[in-house]
Subunit: 200 residues, 2 copies
Amino acid sequence: MTRLTVLFLGDSFVAGVGDPTALGWTGRLLAAAHHPDRDLTGYVLGVRRQTSDDVLARWEREADVRLPGVGTGAVVVSFGVNDAIVEDGRRRVPEERTVENLRTLVNQARARDLAVLVVGPPPVADDDVTARVVALDARLGATAAALDVPYVGTVGALRDDPVWHAEVDAGDGAHPGAAGYERLAALVRPAWDVVVDGLA
Amino acid sequence: MTRLTVLFLGDSFVAGVGDPTALGWTGRLLAAAHHPDRDLTGYVLGVRRQTSDDVLARWEREADVRLPGVGTGAVVVSFGVNDAIVEDGRRRVPEERTVENLRTLVNQARARDLAVLVVGPPPVADDDVTARVVALDARLGATAAALDVPYVGTVGALRDDPVWHAEVDAGDGAHPGAAGYERLAALVRPAWDVVVDGLA
């Protein structure tokens, strides 16, 4: 049986913060991909507050101790909301650098023979942040297309999703609950299925 | 609301390998601890094939990018099965060194003001390995007691558990399925509840 290893990289949304089921969108995708004839291991490496700079700084080291050296692997990466947040009057990561970070990460993943799936940043309660996320989503999608890697935008679908917003508003203003993460997982699911089938 | 951060360190059992629900025992504990008035973030940092040597070599770096610098935190650590496996005629990690690694890790965790919970290694299908796990479990339990950290043995209860063994035998000979992980989570739950209550 081929060993399949998937690394989920990113921020608190990747970590599933706020989900009472502890699955987040990543756990839902891993459960959906489970099959007795498939030896799939998923590592969820989202970290709260992390920008694309932060993810880029750590991901290779964390990946290299997890990649078994046999079988096939993939990286599912999602960042951008923290990049788009303004703190002390400054945007944490300028849009251009977020885009450059994605390019770098995709190239580093390819150097390890890893398939790549990019998941765009979701909306939050703060309309100014969400507006910057919308702009960033367009840039990230175009960058992924230029690099020929699949991209799943989420802000477009979730911006008008009452379930997402009700949970975000009832929570901490950024993270949804179980139903919101289920929506996010459903958006990613078709592209995820393609990635997993491609690994087998 | 106090920020609580829990790091789960260890091997494939910590990673939840084989669980079709993708929760493993760690996700079950995190879900059990979820509460709207509790800002709890769990990071599951189990890695397949890793021994206590391997965990010791990486955990501080991975912890330091995840600990937010505010609130309180804990480490839940579980290793030992891979240490007890013989490869090419050699035990991967001698019992004495596994014990020493636990001591070192507990001291490193305390230096970071992290609470510690130690979960003992579970049984596998191979009786020789399980016999070594039983011996190691006794040493780890005594070490934890000497260090005054809580220890939950699992091999004693799971060795005679038909649900655990049925799933391990139906799987890869090491990892259970959902019901087995549920049993493991149930064994850890009382000590886990004490740790979480202590963080709040």
